[in-house]
């Protein structure tokens, strides 16, 4: 009954990928609104959006790589394996969602 268990704080990892997706949404939406409101040059706004998008993609991809290669400690039991699998797949889902949702910032006209 006193065996080791996955620390509860690791449950936050279940949300990690999509929290980064949320961050991308908020920052891109706000940056786009500010850029259009203040009449930024289209090129500058496009680059700003692209940089923000790529930074978020890199963060998710880094977490994916980091967590996918880490093996759960055997003494933590099946719950650790389960959580790692779910976390890795939420990261993959978040990465795909980030690409699909925010790719328009690379191609569409900025402020019409």
């Amino acid at each position: 009954m006193n065996g080791r268990a996955v620390p509860p704080r690791r449950l936050w990892l279940l949300a990690a990928g999509f929290l980064v997706w949320c961050s991308a949404l908020v920052v891109l939406y706000a940056l786009h609104a500010i850029g259009c409101a203040f009449g930024w040059q289209a090129g500058a706004l496009r680059w700003s959006l692209a940089i923000v998008l790529f930074v978020h993609l890199i963060v998710i991809a880094w977490m994916w790589r980091h967590l996918a290669t880490a093996r759960p400690e055997p003494k933590l039991g099946q719950a650790a394996v389960f959580l790692q699998t779910v976390v890795v797949w939420t990261l993959i889902a978040a990465l795909v969602a980030t690409v699909i949702t925010f790719a328009p910032s690379l191609v569409l006209k900025t402020c019409i």
Partner: protein, 845 residues
């Protein structure tokens, strides 16, 4: 220093144990029923209450269909029609759908997770009474003909004072906020209970899929409701006190309301859908005779769905004039949200395809759901495409889509769930001669009613019109819709008769009639007030035990806590991930306090409604006092040390551990409150960037000295709270530290009030001043709540509820004051930054 406790009886026979536990757990007869806090009692009441509101909302829907059945209908005038359709939507969403899914969760979750009750039974009861009273206020307003009439999403400026000068909009804002308090409190209760109160050995990977659905849904509620609560508070402040958050003529923005509303409104669809999907994921494997396919994929899908559903609120606002690039974000998000939903669909279909499905009544409704929700999902993908949405926006196509996804996704799984779990409540089975025809009437009536609305919408019929001329080509479609609504109603009527027949004359069924594998069937039918006479152990080699066999073993007290001790309502708390027991949770006994507190909360709301603001404030203070009073009786008055729980194991009571349920509950509160705060900050930036009439020369001024004074006082209070915790841990007196924190908070409140008084432009004159006042008011309010924490600490130290081993109260105060300090620095920093922000507006082209 383990203190002696009454020893548990050894080898108690089932009947004796039952009698002992009933004596402790049962709700008393007569008036004592009003003191009930048991989840089974409250859950059942919520089910019944939500169905009463469903009936009222359904009748209102029927009235609209009568009005629209033929052109130039004069069954209702426009004003009455506005009230009827607004109340139909509001009741169905706020008084039926959300409470109904919560009632399922309240009644079933502890049983499915193998525990005896929720973590905070008094909060469950308070949530129920708030829901009942809030719903009653809304219903009475309908009878008094002052019901809300601005549509169920209360768009400004229609709902502002200028265009709705009566109390109609106030009834909605106050009544719905009242109900939201209930929903939010229950959501926190659910999160804590799912994470901390499962059967021993039920690690997260062993948790029934229903638990994951309910956990994710409750977390969504914690994040989704605060933006609407903030919007409702701001709109009510605008209506009552004239602060122009949504008034474009004074620097506000009507669109801010839409953002705040849909930040709640879109996730709400999934808040309704997910618990029903959880019910489907529980039922389908039972009828397929095989485990659910893709358990892990479903967990991933519901997490993805939860987040994506928040990121697409703007698809309700495609026509308001947002730049195309931003629309593309929300359009793409709205399309891909279908993917995690599809993952669940395919998992259900695969479960059926790979199993040996058997046909029974719940399966009829499950297939009805497949048909209806697929149709609704497809029109959802259509509406995610911006050009199509521009054509269909505000037409009956939207009404049709909305009913397919919300009503269809709710009604059919709900009926399936009802027929599946009703034997648990009654010990009897349905009368199939009524139930099967009832399904077909509901299914045919539903599709006849709402499918036609797609066509009327595509033919250009706008939503919310109270009549039409008859030359638009909508006549026969509207007539068919109306006929369909009557057919559907007859179906629901037959289902109600069937349920009454089942209750009265239904054939008795054996335990676990569906051969299910979840724990709610491992108990007496109908369930006893204690749910499990002893708590089951799951784990390797244990999961194969059928609930029927397990029930007998548990009834004999062969699980954990198979005894009565000290007259306590005991259950087990577990480690969040492994499910290993780590504490005995002693739950409070029945009490009238939740009812009384809800009555005073209701009185505060009503006084606000009748513009008796001082009385409202007094009632709110009494309510707060009652919460402090409730806190005085919580926990244990002395240290006990590890307590035996059976099977040779001992764990400490929840008062003596760091991971007690209140700690997790406060984290949930802070997440909800943080969302509200973030929404307020978002609102400030939104008005800055998007609202008209924010000229650069409108420079606000805030006293930096006062602002810094507030921040310094908050930091001192937070440091003092730490000091009180350290002192108590070391066995020293903490009163000095707490006194210092109290003085610091009083100083912070005084400085904040002074700051609000010095805000320019005056909060009545411009939204700039109003948002600054709201931000400072937020800080003052939280400092005030911090004071309550500290007063409660002093009282409980005096009463002996706090000791070096029982530190939860002081840890809660510390966390609250840390949070207040952080949000205070952000809020006041933003207030101080407003002049610079406004100055930048001069750079706009």
């Amino acid at each position: 220093m383990s203190a002696s406790v009454e020893q548990p009886p050894q080898g108690a026979p089932a009947l004796r144990l039952h009698r002992q536990l009933v004596k402790i757990w049962a709700t008393g007869p007569g008036w004592q029923r009003l003191a009930a806090v048991n989840h089974s009692v409250i859950g059942l009441r919520m089910v019944i209450t939500s169905f009463v509101f469903f009936a009222i909302g359904g009748i209102l829907g029927m009235l609209t269909r009568v009005q629209l059945a033929t052109p130039n209908g004069d069954f209702m005038d426009a004003e009455t029609y506005n009230q009827v359709f607004t109340m139909h939507g509001s009741m169905m969403l706020f008084l039926f759908a959300i409470p109904m899914v919560e009632s399922f969760a309240v009644y079933l979750t502890p049983k499915i997770l193998g525990t005896r009750d929720f973590a905070f039974p008094r909060l469950t009861a308070y949530g129920y009474w708030c829901y009942l009273l809030g719903g009653t206020i809304l219903t009475v307003s309908l009878i008094a003909r002052v019901a809300p009439d601005s549509g169920w999403f209360m768009y400004t400026p229609l709902s502002s004072n200028v265009y709705t000068p009566g109390v109609n909009a106030d009834v909605w804002l106050l009544g719905v906020t009242f109900v939201e308090i209930s929903a939010l409190s229950l959501a926190m209760e659910i999160v804590v209970s799912v994470l901390k109160m499962r059967a021993p050995g039920m690690s997260l990977d062993r948790m029934p899929i229903f638990g994951w659905y309910i956990l994710v849904t409750a977390m969504m509620m914690i994040v989704a409701f605060p933006p609407l609560i903030l919007g409702s508070i701001l709109l009510e402040i605008e209506r009552a006190f004239g602060l122009p958050f949504f008034d474009p003529t004074r620097g506000g923005s009507a669109l801010l309301w839409q953002h705040l509303f849909w930040l709640f409104g879109h996730p709400d669809v999934y808040i309704i859908f997910l618990p029903m999907a959880g019910a489907l994921s529980t039922m389908i494997p039972v009828f397929a005779n095989r485990p659910l396919v893709g358990y892990r994929a479903i967990v991933v899908a519901i997490i993805a769905l939860a987040f994506l559903s928040f990121g697409i609120w703007v698809h309700h606002m495609f026509t308001v004039g947002i730049p195309h690039l931003a629309l593309a974000f929300f359009s793409a998000g709205s399309a891909i949200v279908a993917v995690p939903t599809a993952v669940q669909f395919f998992a259900w279909l695969a479960t059926l395809a790979h199993g040996k499905p058997r046909w029974d009544l719940p399966m009829l409704y499950i297939f009805g759901f497949f048909f209806v929700f697929t149709a609704g999902g497809l029109t959802g993908v259509m509406l995610a495409i911006v050009p199509f949405d521009w054509q269909a926006h505000d037409t009956y196509f939207i009404v049709a889509h909305m009913h397919y996804v919300v009503a269809g996704a709710l009604a059919f799984p709900m009926m399936a769930g009802f027929y599946y779990w009703l034997p648990l409540l009654t010990g009897r089975t349905a009368a199939y001669r009524l139930a099967v025809p009832a399904f077909w009437l509901i299914f045919i009536g539903f599709n006849l009613t709402f499918f036609m609305m797609h066509l009327t919408g595509l033919l250009g019929m706008p939503r919310r019109v109270f009549t039409y001329n008859g030359d638009e080509g909508w006549d026969w479609l509207n007539l068919l819709s109306s006929v369909g609504s009557f057919v559907m109603t007859i179906g629901f009527g037959m289902a109600v008769i069937d349920i009454i027949v089942q209750l009265r004359f239904g054939r008795r069924v054996r335990r676990n009639p569906w051969n299910a594998t979840t724990l709610e069937w491992a108990m007496p039918m109908p369930p006893a007030p204690y749910a499990f006479a002893s708590i089951p152990r799951l784990g390797p080699g244990k999961e194969q035990a059928a609930p029927g066999q397990l029930a007998l073993s548990l009834a004999r007290g062969e699980g954990y806590l198979g005894f009565a001790r000290n007259g306590w309502q005991e259950t087990l708390g577990v480690h969040m991930t492994s499910g290993e027991p780590d504490q005995v949770i002693v739950l409070p006994q029945p009490t009238y306090l939740p009812l009384v507190t809800a009555l005073f909360t209701g009185a505060a709301v009503l006084a606000m409604l009748f513009k008796l603001y001082l009385l409202s404030l007094a009632m709110a203070l009494v309510t707060i006092g009652l919460f402090v009073l409730a806190g005085q009786r919580a926990g244990l008055g002395r240290d006990y040390g590890p307590l035996p729980i059976g099977h040779g194991a001992s764990v400490p009571p929840h008062t003596e551990v760091a991971s007690a349920p209140p700690w997790l509950a406060l984290i949930c509160v802070l997440v909800a409150d943080g969302t509200l705060f973030t929404s307020l900050v978002f609102g400030t930036f939104y008005l800055w960037i998007a609202a008209p009439h924010w000229p650069a020369n409108l420079a606000p001024e805030a006293s930096r000295v006062l602002a810094l004074g507030v921040i310094v006082a908050l930091v001192i209070a937070a440091v003092a709270a730490r000091g009180s915790l350290r002192a108590t841990s070391a066995g020293a007196r903490a009163q000095g530290w707490i006194g210092l924190a109290v003085i610091a908070l009083l100083a912070a409140i005084a400085a904040a009030v002074g700051l609000i008084g010095s805000v320019t432009p005056h909060p009545h004159q411009h939204a700039l001043g109003a948002t600054a006042a709201a931000l400072i008011g937020f800080v003052a309010l939280h400092a005030g709540i911090g004071l309550l924490f500290l007063i409660s600490n002093l009282l409980r130290i005096h009463a002996g509820f706090i000791s070096p081993r029982r530190l939860t109260d002081l840890r809660l105060s510390r966390l609250w004051l840390d949070y207040t300090t952080v949000t205070g620095i952000i809020a006041l920093g933003l207030v101080l930054a407003l002049p610079a922000l406004v100055a930048t507006l001069g750079a706009r082209p």
